[in-house]
Symmetry: C2
Subunit: 198 residues, 2 copies
């Protein structure tokens, strides 16, 4: 199912092109936030004051629009992981990063599904970013394991499965009743090696 080259939307050359590209992206962010990743592309185009063909010119697939709309946030997440990599408390670093990741994964409904897809399917617009994130998270995990703070048999893939599962729970939950922080904490306590109490 690897479809040729993944289209990573890039800023167009001409001034009017850039204007429209930005307008579409802004409209898309708003629409995704409101209606989830399945928001109508035609109404996004309308909202941006652009014909539908123009939207497709810049973003040939829905996934490439989602990718462009979430690229920055994902990049921040990767940067944050790098910053935390040398933390003196690797367990705190890991848990803090995971919280942040869960929050980003559930920016809007449907995102976490797209990211989970992209994680292992090259030929997907978001694959590059997901891969970078995978590395960042894996480093934090390894550090915590090296310090003997997290059970050694937990793999990065498992970490990401949990991460996206928790994000999905958060995405589903009603605004008031978000149980995901508790779930994540339960999991973290579960994987922590505790040889402190006698």
């Amino acid at each position: 199912m690897t479809t040729g080259t993944p289209h990573i939307a890039q800023r167009p050359r001409r001034a009017d092109g850039r204007r429209n590209y930005d307008a579409i992206l802004a409209a898309a962010r708003k629409a995704f936030e409101a209606d989830g990743s399945e928001a109508s592309l035609e109404s996004i185009a309308a909202q941006a004051g652009v014909a539908i063909g123009t939207l497709y010119r810049h973003f040939p697939a829905r996934a490439s629009l989602v990718e462009a709309a979430t690229r920055d946030g994902l990049a921040d997440l990767v940067a944050h992981a790098e910053r935390l990599a040398s933390s003196p408390d690797p367990l705190l670093a890991l848990s803090e990063w995971m919280e942040r990741a869960v929050r980003h994964f559930s920016t809007f409904r449907g995102l976490v599904g797209i990211l989970a897809q992209s994680m292992y399917d090259e030929g997907t617009p978001s694959h590059a970013m997901c891969s970078a994130m995978h590395h960042g998270g894996a480093d934090l995990l390894r550090a915590a394991q090296a310090a003997g703070l997290v059970r050694a048999d937990l793999t990065p893939d498992e970490l990401f499965a949990v991460l996206s599962g928790v994000a999905w729970v958060r995405e589903q939950s009603l605004p008031g009743r978000d149980g995901s922080p508790r779930i994540l904490r339960l999991f973290l306590e579960g994987i922590t090696t505790r040889d402190r109490e006698p």
Copy 2:
């Protein structure tokens, strides 16, 4: 968002009605399995050898078709919980039931999302079954907690959040690489009170 009476599809009175109802249900099961809960209703009708209007007569909403298609499996799950309720090993009972629940929740793509919705939204076809399941699971949890085998501060709602999160992970995973059993086990180990080793 509670929409009047949830339509629980019931077997029609006339013989031709029952025939078509069953044919539609069979076609729907196949289609959901293949294409997920968003499978085309028109092609389900066609597959069943029935006009689209007939499908809508029996199942006014997609959710009621999904409900009918999964009712038996869910009922089995509830019955299984009742059977396990008096198990001599409540922790084993709980973990066995959870495995089974995860497996059923991910019968086809999209199901777990519908069930998660139905869990707390009365006015949804599947709500009754979900509610029954909630009780069954809660009983198993309480039993394990009463025996001091599972941390006491875990609530049934949290249990179900985890359950559906894990099911979602399973639903996403490629056929070969299903990490959900491991995730579930990790969680179970995490919530188990261990005061056995010195």
